[in-house]
């Protein structure tokens, strides 16, 4: 499946400044892996040492968090838009 991946501004350093990247995959996990193989520097920001997706990275298919779908196994269809979104925190 050919999908479009939307890259947050914070990660565009690793995608040659691109906002949108095309990727292939039958599932979200596959598409993100394929994407990370093309842009290897981004890997350590997405996955921890054990290869598990980092807790503060959220992935949305359309407007739905994959946590509320089937996680990385969420199936994709042609033309889907997949978005990487961080959570933001701070204080005083």
């Amino acid at each position: 499946m050919a999908i479009t991946l939307l890259i947050p501004t914070a990660l565009r350093n690793f995608t040659d400044g691109k906002k949108e990247v095309q990727a292939e995959g039958k599932t979200v996990g596959e598409a993100v892996d394929n994407f990370a193989n093309v842009y290897p520097d981004i890997k350590r920001h997405l996955y921890d040492e054990k290869g598990v997706l980092r807790a503060f990275i959220n992935i949305f298919v359309g407007e739905t968090n994959i946590k509320n779908l089937q996680g990385l196994d969420t199936p994709l269809k042609d033309g889907d838009t997949v978005m990487l979104v961080p959570a933001i925190a701070g204080g005083k």
Binding site: R54, A87, I88
Partner: protein
Amino acid sequence: MGSNCHDKTRANDHPPTGWRAGDNNKNNKNKDKGKDKVKVGWVLKISLETIEEIKNEAARAYPYECCGALIGVLDGDVRDVKEILPIGNERKGEAQRRRFLITAEELAKVEIKIAKKGLDILGFYHSHPDHPSRPSKYDEDFALPFYSYAIISVEKGKPTELTSWVLDENRIFISEELRS
């Protein structure tokens, strides 16, 4: 926002651990105390009107922390803020006095909304009620690379100084030049 004051802070009401960018060189954590490093070349272009809007948000939220996104266009090293987008502080109850959280769900909505206008998220702002407008250890620990983190101090309900900060390659906040 943040009126359910009797809500106890839940144990799981914590944001995910920070984004450990780069090699996370811990040896470089000893900051020059009292002296802010200024990132040469990085500029946050923000109008006085927009700063005023942030101040109004901060005053309204006092004694709680407000938060929101800095929206605009990236022009080389200049981040040109065109507008702000206030976002509800998702920390619970009294925790909002000293913490803010923007969930990925809220941010996803923002991304979808601004993409249509050809704008980007350049960073975030939040307030420090009765606390200087300098990043806390907590701010630094949870900050993501690239983004500008603007901080507005609110003294006894009155907004004072706005500053802005960006992480350097060692995950240390560097003060960013503000230009109107």
